[in-house]
Amino acid sequence: MARERNSNDQFTRPIRRILVGGLVLSLFALFLLWRIDSPRVERFRAALVDRVVPSFDWALVPVTKLSGMVQGFQSYNRIYEQNQELRRELLQMKAWKEAALQLEQENAKLLDLNNVRLDPKLTFITGVVLADSGSPFRQSVLLNIGARDGIVDGWATTDGLGLVGRISGVGQNSSRVILLTDSNSRIPVTIQPSGQKAMLFGDNTNSPPIEFLESPELIRPGDRVVSSGDGAVFPPGLLVGQVELGPNRRLRVLLSADYSQLEFLRVLRNQTTAKVENPGGLLIPANQSENTEPVVAETNEADDG
């Protein structure tokens, strides 16, 4: 190999040029294929990531734990102040707990009076965060549960308190969650108490803006934002966060989920999730659109009222 380099240069150079050109062209062809038939290539991507990233597991877990320990150690420095803070918060929480208990009893009575059956379909699976997207332009995490555990594209994930994101890309042993902060994330939401519908647009910042709002003057900072269930994207009523007024008086959402410490995520099983089967297909498949849409609309109205 070392010998051909110089003497045969004038013969190998054109061949080399053709080979390199072919390689670049095939990469661009893959890009075109992805643009045209994205679901197929994304499935391939999910399978590849599924093969590669969990094999790092042995290294990922100890290093993550170690960095967690370092962070924990740093917080020992101000343990006294934290203790005081916690005591104060505990006192407040006791008052809230009392209020919550009373409300729970009242709620149970009212549910009993109305003969309401809560949705039994909404169970969940908990997964551990394996890896994050690794790129500053993408906000997503990889969970250690996948098709093996019955995960399906489009299901909602929460961190126990607030909505975190949406499953997008399922491998055999892993699945990817596109976070609400990702620039490709678009979530239909309802803003309580005014009950207005809007969209939450991820834009790579920690507090995504609210768009398509009919009358912004009815919204106040501190209003609760919950998922609306429009288009069968998410089950309705999941807590997303609170409205806050960003710079340029733009309405943004302060997310309830703690994005700085995502470790365990709950994936909500939701059988009515709309599926994307065909490239460029609409979010709602043709055969389901007659059935699901009115149902979803009804449940929303029931929720709002």
Binding site: L19, F28, V41, V141, N204, T205
Partner: protein, 179 residues
């Protein structure tokens, strides 16, 4: 039979993949997932570009293509776009490796910066032609500046610690051919 020069070259291929794997591992660690941080430099591109200007043999096209494509897949980028552009940049610089050897480092730095800038402009152009959501221009510019600012560091590490240096004029390999 493997002659020492080929063995050395293959060991540098291995070293490149090893460094890349370590960086990949660090980048996917789920330490802080919140958005809005500063984007880090593009380590793989910097490493490949700095090596190709010193020892073109240490970064074969096929290896870089595979590495960049896997990166595209794992980092959820449009597959094939950034890797194809990266290869174009790599080959552009490979053709000028001989030329930059005789010039001071500042010139090489400028050349790499221009190449990466050109690739960034092409990338944004292609993304907008194919109507794909792209990050804000400000974020891309910060990314570019950080990447360029890290280049001397990468060059220092790879030439001082890893021994990827330009062949001295008149240096010959085992068979007496100039490198």
């Amino acid at each position: 039979m493997v002659d020492p020069i080929t063995a050395r070259r293959i060991s540098y291929w291995g070293l490149f993949v090893l460094i890349w794997l370590v960086i990949l591992l660090i980048r996917v660690l789920p330490v802080d997932i919140s958005a809005g941080g500063w984007p880090g430099p593009n380590w793989t591109i910097l490493l490949a570009f700095s090596w190709v200007l010193r020892r073109p043999n240490f970064v074969p096209v096929l290896l870089i293509a595979i590495v960049l494509l896997i990166e595209d897949m794992i980092f959820m980028r449009p597959p094939g776009l950034a890797s194809g552009l990266g290869l174009i940049g790599l080959e552009f610089l490979r053709g000028r490796a001989q030329f930059s050897r005789e010039l001071p480092f500042m010139f090489e730095w400028g050349m790499v910066a221009t190449t990466i800038f050109g690739l960034m402009v092409l990338h944004r152009l292609l993304l907008s032609i194919f109507v794909i959501t792209q990050p804000s221009l400000a974020l891309d510019i910060i990314y570019f500046v950080i990447t360029i600012a890290t280049y001397p560091l990468i060059v220092m590490i790879s030439s001082r610690l890893l021994g990827v240096r330009q062949a001295a004029p008149g240096e010959v390999d085992q068979f007496g051919h100039p490198i």
